[in-house]
Homo-oligomer: 226 residues x 2
DNA sequence: TCAAAAGTGTTGCTTGTACACCCATGT
DNA sequence: ACATGGGTGTACAAGCAACACTTTTGA
Protein backbone atom coordinates (compact mmCIF):
# COMPACT_ATOMS: atom_id res chain seq x y z
CA UNK A 1 0.00 0.00 0.00
CA UNK A 2 2.99 2.24 0.37
CA UNK A 3 3.12 2.51 -3.37
CA UNK A 4 3.16 5.28 -5.91
CA UNK A 5 -0.55 4.67 -6.23
CA UNK A 6 -1.27 6.29 -2.91
CA UNK A 7 -2.32 9.48 -4.56
CA UNK A 8 -4.61 7.72 -6.97
CA UNK A 9 -6.10 5.72 -4.16
CA UNK A 10 -6.61 8.83 -2.12
CA UNK A 11 -8.41 10.38 -5.01
CA UNK A 12 -10.65 7.38 -5.42
CA UNK A 13 -11.31 7.07 -1.74
CA UNK A 14 -11.93 10.71 -1.06
CA UNK A 15 -15.07 12.07 -2.65
CA UNK A 16 -14.48 15.36 -4.38
CA UNK A 17 -16.42 18.59 -3.86
CA UNK A 18 -19.51 19.29 -5.92
CA UNK A 19 -17.80 21.79 -8.17
CA UNK A 20 -19.70 24.55 -9.90
CA UNK A 21 -19.30 27.78 -11.78
CA UNK A 22 -21.37 30.81 -10.82
CA UNK A 23 -21.52 33.85 -13.04
CA UNK A 24 -22.19 37.41 -11.91
CA UNK A 25 -23.39 39.25 -15.01
CA UNK A 26 -23.47 43.01 -14.47
CA UNK A 27 -25.05 45.61 -16.73
CA UNK A 28 -26.23 49.19 -16.52
CA UNK A 29 -29.97 49.75 -16.74
CA UNK A 30 -31.61 53.11 -16.08
CA UNK A 31 -28.23 54.50 -15.05
CA UNK A 32 -27.78 51.92 -12.31
CA UNK A 33 -25.73 48.77 -12.05
CA UNK A 34 -27.89 45.64 -12.20
CA UNK A 35 -27.13 41.96 -11.82
CA UNK A 36 -28.73 39.19 -13.83
CA UNK A 37 -30.64 36.70 -11.68
CA UNK A 38 -32.25 33.42 -12.67
CA UNK A 39 -35.35 31.99 -11.06
CA UNK A 40 -34.57 28.41 -10.17
CA UNK A 41 -36.82 25.78 -11.74
CA UNK A 42 -35.81 22.99 -9.37
CA UNK A 43 -34.96 22.22 -5.78
CA UNK A 44 -33.10 23.30 -3.84
CA UNK A 45 -34.39 26.84 -3.61
CA UNK A 46 -36.96 26.16 -6.36
CA UNK A 47 -38.64 29.42 -7.30
CA UNK A 48 -35.93 31.48 -5.64
CA UNK A 49 -33.62 33.89 -7.43
CA UNK A 50 -29.99 32.85 -7.85
CA UNK A 51 -26.96 33.54 -9.96
CA UNK A 52 -26.85 31.58 -13.19
CA UNK A 53 -24.42 28.72 -12.74
CA UNK A 54 -23.72 25.11 -13.45
CA UNK A 55 -21.57 22.12 -12.74
CA UNK A 56 -18.02 21.85 -14.06
CA UNK A 57 -18.07 19.08 -16.66
CA UNK A 58 -14.73 17.36 -16.92
CA UNK A 59 -15.85 15.66 -20.12
CA UNK A 60 -16.66 18.95 -21.83
CA UNK A 61 -14.56 21.71 -20.36
CA UNK A 62 -10.95 22.45 -21.20
CA UNK A 63 -10.46 24.98 -18.44
CA UNK A 64 -12.40 26.94 -15.85
CA UNK A 65 -12.81 29.74 -18.36
CA UNK A 66 -14.34 27.47 -20.97
CA UNK A 67 -16.52 25.88 -18.32
CA UNK A 68 -17.86 29.35 -17.56
CA UNK A 69 -18.51 29.95 -21.25
CA UNK A 70 -20.40 26.70 -21.56
CA UNK A 71 -22.49 27.39 -18.48
CA UNK A 72 -23.48 30.79 -19.82
CA UNK A 73 -24.39 29.26 -23.16
CA UNK A 74 -26.55 26.59 -21.53
CA UNK A 75 -28.29 28.80 -19.02
CA UNK A 76 -28.63 32.03 -20.97
CA UNK A 77 -28.39 30.87 -24.57
CA UNK A 78 -25.68 33.36 -25.46
CA UNK A 79 -21.99 34.11 -25.37
CA UNK A 80 -20.23 36.41 -22.96
CA UNK A 81 -16.73 37.61 -23.68
CA UNK A 82 -14.21 38.84 -21.11
CA UNK A 83 -15.34 36.81 -18.15
CA UNK A 84 -13.02 37.31 -15.25
CA UNK A 85 -12.41 34.88 -12.42
CA UNK A 86 -13.05 36.49 -9.07
CA UNK A 87 -12.62 33.91 -6.37
CA UNK A 88 -13.45 30.43 -5.20
CA UNK A 89 -15.60 29.58 -2.20
CA UNK A 90 -16.17 26.19 -0.67
CA UNK A 91 -17.71 24.52 2.33
CA UNK A 92 -20.02 21.81 3.59
CA UNK A 93 -23.12 23.97 4.07
CA UNK A 94 -23.25 25.88 0.82
CA UNK A 95 -25.50 23.59 -1.17
CA UNK A 96 -27.98 21.07 0.25
CA UNK A 97 -27.50 18.83 -2.77
CA UNK A 98 -23.96 17.98 -1.81
CA UNK A 99 -21.90 17.24 1.25
CA UNK A 100 -19.39 19.86 0.16
CA UNK A 101 -19.84 22.47 -2.55
CA UNK A 102 -17.18 24.48 -4.30
CA UNK A 103 -18.00 27.42 -6.56
CA UNK A 104 -15.64 29.25 -8.86
CA UNK A 105 -17.11 32.70 -9.35
CA UNK A 106 -16.79 34.63 -12.61
CA UNK A 107 -17.87 38.14 -13.45
CA UNK A 108 -18.91 39.60 -16.80
CA UNK A 109 -19.77 43.17 -17.77
CA UNK A 110 -22.16 43.49 -20.67
CA UNK A 111 -24.28 46.11 -22.41
CA UNK A 112 -27.96 45.49 -21.88
CA UNK A 113 -28.66 46.14 -25.57
CA UNK A 114 -26.07 43.58 -26.62
CA UNK A 115 -27.38 40.78 -24.50
CA UNK A 116 -30.04 38.33 -25.58
CA UNK A 117 -30.43 36.13 -22.55
CA UNK A 118 -33.18 33.56 -22.56
CA UNK A 119 -33.98 31.20 -19.72
CA UNK A 120 -32.19 27.94 -20.44
CA UNK A 121 -31.86 24.65 -18.65
CA UNK A 122 -33.29 24.54 -15.13
CA UNK A 123 -34.22 28.22 -15.24
CA UNK A 124 -37.80 29.44 -15.08
CA UNK A 125 -37.15 33.09 -15.85
CA UNK A 126 -34.54 35.82 -15.78
CA UNK A 127 -34.54 39.29 -14.28
CA UNK A 128 -32.24 42.21 -13.72
CA UNK A 129 -31.95 43.37 -10.15
CA UNK A 130 -30.22 46.55 -8.91
CA UNK A 131 -27.02 45.46 -7.21
CA UNK A 132 -27.75 47.51 -4.11
CA UNK A 133 -30.82 45.37 -3.51
CA UNK A 134 -29.36 42.04 -4.60
CA UNK A 135 -26.28 42.34 -2.40
CA UNK A 136 -28.43 42.59 0.70
CA UNK A 137 -31.37 40.41 -0.32
CA UNK A 138 -31.53 37.55 2.17
CA UNK A 139 -34.03 35.70 0.00
CA UNK A 140 -31.48 34.89 -2.71
CA UNK A 141 -30.52 31.24 -3.02
CA UNK A 142 -27.33 29.85 -1.52
CA UNK A 143 -24.69 32.44 -0.58
CA UNK A 144 -25.21 34.30 -3.82
CA UNK A 145 -25.91 37.67 -2.20
CA UNK A 146 -22.38 37.57 -0.77
CA UNK A 147 -20.91 36.66 -4.12
CA UNK A 148 -22.70 39.57 -5.79
CA UNK A 149 -21.43 41.96 -3.16
CA UNK A 150 -17.86 40.80 -3.70
CA UNK A 151 -18.21 41.10 -7.47
CA UNK A 152 -19.51 44.65 -7.26
CA UNK A 153 -16.79 45.66 -4.83
CA UNK A 154 -14.11 44.28 -7.14
CA UNK A 155 -15.66 45.99 -10.15
CA UNK A 156 -15.72 49.35 -8.39
CA UNK A 157 -12.11 48.96 -7.30
CA UNK A 158 -11.06 48.18 -10.86
CA UNK A 159 -12.94 51.19 -12.21
CA UNK A 160 -11.30 53.42 -9.63
CA UNK A 161 -7.96 52.11 -10.82
CA UNK A 162 -8.94 53.16 -14.36
CA UNK A 163 -9.40 49.64 -15.67
CA UNK A 164 -11.98 50.46 -18.32
CA UNK A 165 -15.19 48.38 -18.36
CA UNK A 166 -14.78 47.08 -21.92
CA UNK A 167 -17.94 44.99 -21.84
CA UNK A 168 -20.11 47.98 -21.03
CA UNK A 169 -18.90 50.02 -24.00
CA UNK A 170 -19.68 50.01 -27.69
CA UNK A 171 -16.76 49.27 -29.97
CA UNK A 172 -16.60 53.01 -30.60
CA UNK A 173 -17.66 55.48 -27.95
CA UNK A 174 -17.34 59.11 -26.95
CA UNK A 175 -15.36 60.14 -23.90
CA UNK A 176 -18.57 61.31 -22.30
CA UNK A 177 -20.12 57.88 -22.80
CA UNK A 178 -17.11 56.34 -21.13
CA UNK A 179 -17.16 58.78 -18.23
CA UNK A 180 -20.88 58.31 -17.67
CA UNK A 181 -20.43 54.54 -17.59
CA UNK A 182 -17.68 54.81 -14.98
CA UNK A 183 -19.79 57.20 -12.92
CA UNK A 184 -22.69 54.77 -12.96
CA UNK A 185 -20.49 51.92 -11.82
CA UNK A 186 -19.02 53.99 -9.01
CA UNK A 187 -22.23 55.84 -8.20
CA UNK A 188 -20.38 59.12 -7.99
CA UNK A 189 -19.60 62.09 -10.22
CA UNK A 190 -16.16 62.43 -11.81
CA UNK A 191 -14.46 65.57 -13.05
CA UNK A 192 -14.36 65.71 -16.83
CA UNK A 193 -10.96 67.32 -17.13
CA UNK A 194 -9.26 65.00 -14.64
CA UNK A 195 -10.86 61.96 -16.15
CA UNK A 196 -9.64 62.82 -19.63
CA UNK A 197 -6.13 63.65 -18.58
CA UNK A 198 -5.92 60.30 -16.83
CA UNK A 199 -7.15 58.56 -19.95
CA UNK A 200 -4.54 60.00 -22.23
CA UNK A 201 -1.65 59.97 -19.80
CA UNK A 202 -2.15 56.23 -19.59
CA UNK A 203 -2.91 55.76 -23.29
CA UNK A 204 -6.14 53.92 -22.57
CA UNK A 205 -8.06 55.07 -25.63
CA UNK A 206 -7.25 56.22 -29.15
CA UNK A 207 -9.38 58.43 -31.39
CA UNK A 208 -10.98 56.72 -34.35
CA UNK A 209 -9.85 58.67 -37.39
CA UNK A 210 -12.37 61.24 -38.61
CA UNK A 211 -15.34 59.60 -36.95
CA UNK A 212 -17.87 61.71 -35.08
CA UNK A 213 -21.47 61.46 -33.93
CA UNK A 214 -24.21 64.08 -34.13
CA UNK A 215 -27.08 65.35 -31.99
CA UNK A 216 -28.64 68.71 -31.42
CA UNK A 217 -25.24 70.00 -30.41
CA UNK A 218 -21.57 69.71 -31.17
CA UNK A 219 -20.56 66.22 -32.38
CA UNK A 220 -18.13 64.24 -30.29
CA UNK A 221 -14.94 62.51 -31.29
CA UNK A 222 -15.23 58.73 -31.23
CA UNK A 223 -12.64 56.56 -29.53
CA UNK A 224 -11.85 52.91 -29.14
CA UNK A 225 -9.90 50.97 -26.53
CA UNK A 226 -6.20 50.52 -27.15
CA UNK B 1 -36.69 11.83 -14.64
CA UNK B 2 -37.93 15.39 -14.90
CA UNK B 3 -37.85 15.64 -11.16
CA UNK B 4 -36.20 17.83 -8.60
CA UNK B 5 -33.51 15.18 -8.46
CA UNK B 6 -32.07 16.19 -11.79
CA UNK B 7 -29.34 18.16 -10.13
CA UNK B 8 -28.47 15.34 -7.81
CA UNK B 9 -28.40 12.92 -10.69
CA UNK B 10 -26.20 15.24 -12.67
CA UNK B 11 -23.83 15.40 -9.79
CA UNK B 12 -23.72 11.62 -9.47
CA UNK B 13 -23.35 11.09 -13.16
CA UNK B 14 -20.73 13.71 -13.76
CA UNK B 15 -17.41 12.95 -12.16
CA UNK B 16 -15.99 15.92 -10.32
CA UNK B 17 -12.54 17.44 -10.78
CA UNK B 18 -9.64 16.18 -8.73
CA UNK B 19 -9.59 19.13 -6.39
CA UNK B 20 -6.45 20.23 -4.62
CA UNK B 21 -4.92 23.02 -2.63
CA UNK B 22 -1.45 24.31 -3.55
CA UNK B 23 0.42 26.65 -1.24
CA UNK B 24 3.03 29.19 -2.31
CA UNK B 25 5.06 29.91 0.83
CA UNK B 26 7.30 32.93 0.37
CA UNK B 27 10.08 34.09 2.67
CA UNK B 28 13.11 36.33 2.54
CA UNK B 29 16.49 34.62 2.74
CA UNK B 30 19.78 36.42 2.16
CA UNK B 31 17.85 39.54 1.18
CA UNK B 32 16.00 37.75 -1.60
CA UNK B 33 12.50 36.37 -1.93
CA UNK B 34 12.43 32.57 -1.87
CA UNK B 35 9.69 30.02 -2.33
CA UNK B 36 9.38 26.79 -0.39
CA UNK B 37 9.51 23.71 -2.61
CA UNK B 38 8.90 20.08 -1.73
CA UNK B 39 10.61 17.15 -3.41
CA UNK B 40 7.89 14.71 -4.38
CA UNK B 41 8.19 11.24 -2.89
CA UNK B 42 5.79 9.60 -5.31
CA UNK B 43 4.66 9.56 -8.93
CA UNK B 44 3.78 11.58 -10.80
CA UNK B 45 6.89 13.70 -10.96
CA UNK B 46 8.57 11.60 -8.25
CA UNK B 47 11.83 13.26 -7.25
CA UNK B 48 10.82 16.55 -8.84
CA UNK B 49 10.32 19.79 -6.97
CA UNK B 50 6.77 21.05 -6.54
CA UNK B 51 4.68 23.32 -4.38
CA UNK B 52 3.43 21.70 -1.20
CA UNK B 53 -0.20 20.80 -1.70
CA UNK B 54 -2.88 18.25 -1.07
CA UNK B 55 -6.34 17.09 -1.83
CA UNK B 56 -9.40 18.90 -0.50
CA UNK B 57 -11.01 16.55 2.01
CA UNK B 58 -14.73 17.09 2.26
CA UNK B 59 -14.82 14.96 5.38
CA UNK B 60 -12.27 17.13 7.18
CA UNK B 61 -12.36 20.63 5.81
CA UNK B 62 -14.88 23.31 6.72
CA UNK B 63 -13.78 25.72 4.02
CA UNK B 64 -11.05 26.26 1.47
CA UNK B 65 -9.10 28.24 4.04
CA UNK B 66 -9.20 25.43 6.58
CA UNK B 67 -8.32 22.94 3.86
CA UNK B 68 -5.21 25.02 3.19
CA UNK B 69 -4.36 25.02 6.88
CA UNK B 70 -4.71 21.25 7.09
CA UNK B 71 -2.59 20.70 4.02
CA UNK B 72 0.19 22.86 5.42
CA UNK B 73 0.01 21.00 8.71
CA UNK B 74 0.24 17.62 7.01
CA UNK B 75 2.96 18.47 4.55
CA UNK B 76 5.09 20.86 6.55
CA UNK B 77 4.20 19.95 10.14
CA UNK B 78 3.43 23.52 11.11
CA UNK B 79 0.86 26.29 11.08
CA UNK B 80 0.79 29.24 8.74
CA UNK B 81 -1.37 32.23 9.53
CA UNK B 82 -2.67 34.75 7.01
CA UNK B 83 -2.92 32.50 3.99
CA UNK B 84 -4.51 34.33 1.12
CA UNK B 85 -6.39 32.78 -1.75
CA UNK B 86 -4.91 33.81 -5.07
CA UNK B 87 -6.75 32.04 -7.85
CA UNK B 88 -8.09 28.75 -9.10
CA UNK B 89 -6.81 26.89 -12.14
CA UNK B 90 -8.28 23.84 -13.76
CA UNK B 91 -8.00 21.66 -16.81
CA UNK B 92 -7.67 18.16 -18.17
CA UNK B 93 -3.90 18.11 -18.61
CA UNK B 94 -2.73 19.51 -15.33
CA UNK B 95 -2.22 16.30 -13.42
CA UNK B 96 -1.65 12.84 -14.92
CA UNK B 97 -3.38 11.22 -11.96
CA UNK B 98 -6.73 12.60 -12.91
CA UNK B 99 -8.82 13.29 -15.97
CA UNK B 100 -9.36 16.84 -14.79
CA UNK B 101 -7.50 18.62 -12.01
CA UNK B 102 -8.51 21.77 -10.18
CA UNK B 103 -6.15 23.62 -7.86
CA UNK B 104 -7.01 26.43 -5.49
CA UNK B 105 -3.81 28.37 -4.92
CA UNK B 106 -2.97 30.03 -1.62
CA UNK B 107 -0.05 32.23 -0.72
CA UNK B 108 1.62 32.74 2.67
CA UNK B 109 4.36 35.14 3.70
CA UNK B 110 6.48 33.95 6.58
CA UNK B 111 9.71 34.83 8.38
CA UNK B 112 12.34 32.20 7.79
CA UNK B 113 13.27 32.24 11.50
CA UNK B 114 9.67 31.64 12.52
CA UNK B 115 9.14 28.65 10.31
CA UNK B 116 9.87 25.07 11.32
CA UNK B 117 8.94 23.12 8.23
CA UNK B 118 9.66 19.41 8.15
CA UNK B 119 8.98 17.09 5.25
CA UNK B 120 5.63 15.46 5.92
CA UNK B 121 3.46 12.99 4.05
CA UNK B 122 4.60 12.17 0.51
CA UNK B 123 7.47 14.64 0.71
CA UNK B 124 11.11 13.57 0.55
CA UNK B 125 12.69 16.90 1.40
CA UNK B 126 12.15 20.62 1.42
CA UNK B 127 14.18 23.47 0.02
CA UNK B 128 13.99 27.20 -0.47
CA UNK B 129 14.47 28.43 -4.02
CA UNK B 130 14.89 32.03 -5.16
CA UNK B 131 11.67 33.04 -6.85
CA UNK B 132 13.46 34.34 -9.92
CA UNK B 133 14.73 30.83 -10.58
CA UNK B 134 11.62 28.95 -9.55
CA UNK B 135 9.30 31.03 -11.73
CA UNK B 136 11.22 30.07 -14.84
CA UNK B 137 12.31 26.56 -13.88
CA UNK B 138 10.83 24.20 -16.45
CA UNK B 139 11.76 21.19 -14.33
CA UNK B 140 9.20 21.96 -11.65
CA UNK B 141 6.30 19.53 -11.40
CA UNK B 142 2.90 20.29 -12.93
CA UNK B 143 2.28 23.95 -13.78
CA UNK B 144 3.75 25.09 -10.50
CA UNK B 145 6.27 27.46 -12.05
CA UNK B 146 3.36 29.47 -13.46
CA UNK B 147 1.61 29.50 -10.11
CA UNK B 148 4.74 30.78 -8.40
CA UNK B 149 5.13 33.53 -10.97
CA UNK B 150 1.54 34.64 -10.42
CA UNK B 151 1.97 34.58 -6.65
CA UNK B 152 5.08 36.74 -6.79
CA UNK B 153 3.48 39.19 -9.17
CA UNK B 154 0.47 39.56 -6.87
CA UNK B 155 2.69 39.99 -3.82
CA UNK B 156 4.69 42.74 -5.51
CA UNK B 157 1.52 44.53 -6.60
CA UNK B 158 0.21 44.41 -3.04
CA UNK B 159 3.47 45.75 -1.64
CA UNK B 160 3.43 48.58 -4.15
CA UNK B 161 -0.05 49.43 -2.98
CA UNK B 162 1.33 49.60 0.58
CA UNK B 163 -0.33 46.45 1.82
CA UNK B 164 2.23 45.59 4.48
CA UNK B 165 3.64 42.03 4.45
CA UNK B 166 2.53 41.13 7.97
CA UNK B 167 3.91 37.61 7.83
CA UNK B 168 7.41 38.81 7.08
CA UNK B 169 7.56 41.11 10.09
CA UNK B 170 8.17 40.58 13.77
CA UNK B 171 5.34 41.62 16.04
CA UNK B 172 7.37 44.74 16.74
CA UNK B 173 9.66 46.22 14.15
CA UNK B 174 11.51 49.37 13.21
CA UNK B 175 10.51 51.42 10.22
CA UNK B 176 13.84 50.55 8.63
CA UNK B 177 13.10 46.85 9.03
CA UNK B 178 9.76 47.37 7.35
CA UNK B 179 11.25 49.38 4.52
CA UNK B 180 14.02 46.87 3.91
CA UNK B 181 11.47 44.05 3.76
CA UNK B 182 9.41 45.90 1.17
CA UNK B 183 12.53 46.67 -0.83
CA UNK B 184 13.49 43.01 -0.86
CA UNK B 185 10.04 41.98 -2.07
CA UNK B 186 10.07 44.58 -4.83
CA UNK B 187 13.78 44.25 -5.60
CA UNK B 188 14.14 47.99 -5.73
CA UNK B 189 15.21 50.81 -3.42
CA UNK B 190 12.60 53.04 -1.82
CA UNK B 191 12.99 56.57 -0.51
CA UNK B 192 12.95 56.68 3.27
CA UNK B 193 11.09 59.94 3.60
CA UNK B 194 8.37 59.11 1.09
CA UNK B 195 7.93 55.64 2.54
CA UNK B 196 7.40 57.00 6.02
CA UNK B 197 5.01 59.72 4.97
CA UNK B 198 2.91 57.13 3.19
CA UNK B 199 2.91 54.94 6.28
CA UNK B 200 1.58 57.58 8.60
CA UNK B 201 -0.77 59.26 6.18
CA UNK B 202 -2.54 55.93 5.91
CA UNK B 203 -2.19 55.04 9.59
CA UNK B 204 -0.61 51.69 8.82
CA UNK B 205 1.62 51.46 11.89
CA UNK B 206 1.58 52.78 15.44
CA UNK B 207 4.59 53.32 17.68
CA UNK B 208 4.89 50.94 20.59
CA UNK B 209 5.04 53.10 23.69
CA UNK B 210 8.57 53.77 24.90
CA UNK B 211 10.12 50.76 23.25
CA UNK B 212 13.38 51.09 21.38
CA UNK B 213 16.18 48.84 20.24
CA UNK B 214 19.93 49.42 20.45
CA UNK B 215 23.01 48.81 18.31
CA UNK B 216 26.26 50.66 17.79
CA UNK B 217 24.23 53.66 16.75
CA UNK B 218 21.06 55.55 17.47
CA UNK B 219 18.21 53.28 18.65
CA UNK B 220 15.05 53.11 16.59
CA UNK B 221 11.46 53.48 17.62
CA UNK B 222 9.54 50.22 17.50
CA UNK B 223 6.17 49.96 15.79
CA UNK B 224 3.42 47.46 15.31
CA UNK B 225 0.73 47.05 12.68
CA UNK B 226 -2.56 48.78 13.32
C1' DT C 1 35.28 62.38 17.66
C1' DC C 2 33.83 59.27 14.39
C1' DA C 3 30.96 55.90 12.02
C1' DA C 4 26.44 54.28 11.46
C1' DA C 5 21.88 54.36 11.29
C1' DA C 6 17.65 57.14 12.92
C1' DG C 7 14.84 60.62 11.84
C1' DT C 8 13.38 65.39 9.70
C1' DG C 9 13.25 69.08 6.27
C1' DT C 10 13.48 71.31 1.56
C1' DT C 11 12.78 71.62 -3.17
C1' DG C 12 10.81 70.67 -7.53
C1' DC C 13 7.91 67.92 -10.15
C1' DT C 14 3.75 65.29 -11.03
C1' DT C 15 -0.94 64.47 -10.29
C1' DG C 16 -5.62 65.51 -8.91
C1' DT C 17 -9.65 68.71 -8.17
C1' DA C 18 -12.59 72.36 -9.03
C1' DC C 19 -14.20 75.40 -11.95
C1' DA C 20 -14.34 78.51 -15.74
C1' DC C 21 -14.48 79.21 -20.35
C1' DC C 22 -14.75 78.65 -25.43
C1' DC C 23 -16.44 75.63 -29.46
C1' DA C 24 -19.56 73.51 -32.70
C1' DT C 25 -24.03 72.21 -33.85
C1' DG C 26 -29.41 71.94 -34.75
C1' DT C 27 -33.38 74.26 -33.81
C1' DA D 1 -29.37 83.66 -31.21
C1' DC D 2 -29.36 80.24 -27.94
C1' DA D 3 -29.46 76.03 -25.64
C1' DT D 4 -26.80 71.91 -25.30
C1' DG D 5 -23.22 69.08 -24.63
C1' DG D 6 -18.10 68.71 -26.43
C1' DG D 7 -13.67 70.04 -25.44
C1' DT D 8 -9.74 72.91 -23.30
C1' DG D 9 -7.36 75.89 -19.91
C1' DT D 10 -6.12 77.69 -15.35
C1' DA D 11 -5.27 77.87 -10.51
C1' DC D 12 -4.74 75.69 -6.41
C1' DA D 13 -3.83 71.70 -3.41
C1' DA D 14 -2.00 67.22 -2.45
C1' DG D 15 1.31 63.80 -3.15
C1' DC D 16 5.70 61.93 -4.39
C1' DA D 17 10.79 61.52 -5.33
C1' DA D 18 15.35 62.98 -4.63
C1' DC D 19 18.46 64.65 -1.65
C1' DA D 20 20.42 67.14 2.19
C1' DC D 21 20.60 67.68 6.71
C1' DT D 22 20.44 66.97 11.89
C1' DT D 23 20.25 63.57 15.86
C1' DT D 24 21.62 59.89 18.80
C1' DT D 25 24.13 56.22 20.03
C1' DG D 26 28.53 52.79 20.97
C1' DA D 27 33.07 52.36 20.12
Amino acid sequence: MKSSDDAKMAKKMHPMPFTRIEVVVLSIIDSRLHVLLAKRAEAPYAGKWALPGGVVRIDLDGSLESAAKRVVAERLGMELPDMEQLCAVGGPKRDPRAAWALSIVFRALVRIDKISANPGKRIKSLTWCPVSEAATDRSLAFDHADLIERAVKTTRAQTNAMKLPAGLLEKQFTLSDLQTTCEQILELKLDKSSFRRKLDSRDLVVPVAGATKGGAFRPAQLYRLT
